[in-house]
């Protein structure tokens, strides 16, 4: 294989994994916009959703399609419980306190999953076909390619929904100012709950996709930490920035893996996050508030 072809292949695989990053990042950003809460439990929510899928599809033998639906419903219920029990009482508290609560929620989920399903890898039914996709001469692993397609379709659909729907306007109004949103008759608490539902959906889909591409373990959610870089690169406030940012981070990770020892691949997102924070704290797409007095 020629070096150019190798480079292209790594690039495409990298960008493809970036699609799932974008999906996870979207869940984090929507919650952040609704209530300035950074949800560090996102990875664990993903992981738990994948276990829900396993339980429904394998343990209760409902098959993959019903499995996805059951997992989605359970994930939404759990997200609403987290929001109601752990997050809502913290409204108005300092940012760091709320962040610590989300960390705590994440640990609880990890603990419970460990107790229920144990620490070892589980095999989940393949929903993504293994047969590779050929782009000209370039070989793309089947699961990665299909996972990418599903993730991007959902991300684009959600971006469009939040851009053009009335609910999207309510979310953006709440993000701009909770008090002003209230004065428009927007029930801000419902908006926050709605954001958690969206995060549950993106977390559930990305969790099941990740479990399909890799395998199902309690560590599945660690990938959400890489997504931190996506969120920072896209700009915390920018919903549409996540897609491009996801591609860039995924691509950089893959390219680092091509040229440097594997260890570097792991730290690439963090180094990048650090550089962005130093050079462009608002990210690529996060803009300063437009304001005129």
């Amino acid at each position: 294989m020629s070096p150019v072809q190798l480079f292209l292949e790594y690039s495409i695989v990298g960008i493809a994994s970036g699609g799932i990053y974008a999906l996870i990042a979207l869940g984090i950003i929507v919650i952040y916009k609704s209530s300035r809460t950074f949800n560090f439990a996102m990875g664990e929510m993903m992981m738990l959703s994948a276990y829900f899928f396993y339980a429904a599809a394998v343990t209760f033998a409902l098959g993959p399609v019903l499995g996805v639906i059951v997992a989605l419903i359970c994930s939404i219920v759990i997200a609403l419980v987290i929001e109601r029990v752990a997050i809502r009482p913290m409204l108005g508290r300092p940012f760091i306190s709320v962040v610590m609560v989300t960390f705590g929620v994440g640990s609880i989920i990890r603990g419970v999953v460990g107790m229920v399903w144990g620490p070892s890898d589980l095999q989940i039914p393949a929903i993504l076909s293994r047969s590779p996709v050929m782009l000209g001469d370039i070989f793309v692993p089947g699961k990665t390619a299909r996972g990418f397609a599903i993730a991007v379709v959902i991300v684009v659909a959600l971006i469009a929904y939040l851009r053009y729907s009335r609910a999207g306007v309510a979310l953006r109004a709440t993000a701009a100012s909770a008090i002003t949103a209230y004065s428009m008759g927007i029930n801000v608490r419902n908006v926050i709950a709605f954001a958690w539902v969206i995060a549950a959906v993106t977390g559930c889909i990305s969790g099941i996709l990740m479990a399909n591409i890799n395998s199902l373990t309690p560590h599945l959610g660690l990938v959400a930490l890489n997504v931190l870089a996506v969120v920072i690169l896209g700009g915390m406030g920018s919903i549409s920035g996540v897609l491009v940012a996801g591609f860039i981070i995924g691509w950089l990770e893959a390219i680092t893996g091509l040229f440097l020892p594997t260890g570097f691949r792991e730290i690439t997102p963090y180094i990048l996050a650090l550089i962005i924070l130093l050079v462009r704290p608002n990210g690529l797409f996060g803009s300063k508030e437009v304001e005129r007095i």
Binding site: V169, R172, A176, S177, T180, Y182, S183, G185, N187
Partner: protein
Amino acid sequence: MLEIRNLEVVYQGVIQALADLSVTIPEGAIVALLGANGAGKTTTLKAISGFLPLEGGRITSGSIRIGGQDIAKLAPHQIVRRGVFHVREGRHIFGDMTVEENLIAATFAQRHKRSRKDAFDEVYSYFPILSTRRNQQAGYLSGGEQQMLAIGRALVADPSMILLDEPSLGLAPLIVNEIFEIISRINREKKVSILLVEQNAVIALKYASYGYVVESGRTVLEGTSQELNSNEDIQKFYLGVDAAEAA
């Protein structure tokens, strides 16, 4: 009709913002609240619209009634859906949304189902300039246009009362006159009552039929606009007329 009786408001448990405030806004009237900075005018509006708990404030005694019903315990979004729309000081338009998206946001405040087109057409009939700017980012509107948008959002909700906080703030006199003419038209044509907080007492008393003077959280003086206009203290402290000169 909105009735405030002996309202007392405390911030953070210790700072008394209102001590004993009583105000009545009859159906269809324009009523002005006059007073110095920090007298408690804006706090009064926030108490009505339910914003106090969001800013660490609390009603410790007194009552606020709309048509006889106490609203002091309601959340802000419930109060606005009862027809009382608060246009806050500083306009607070959503700067990174378009003009039309700002109006869409206000549809959540509607009491009665109304088509978006009807509601927006009405806004554009009062403020034609907003129609030409409908797809522009609201943050780039001029100050006067932003004030128009802030009032336009209230119109979308089709309220029975608008709480209007400092609409003239930072605007050129010509624009202020234009905006007040439109406010007065909205009041007449749509029978919307207006509680007006305004530093510019001259213009406030020109458009209001009745006024209250607030000092240190108390209503200390009230009367029709003619009465207040001819009151010597009002002339001296709020209208900038020297008593000797007036005489």
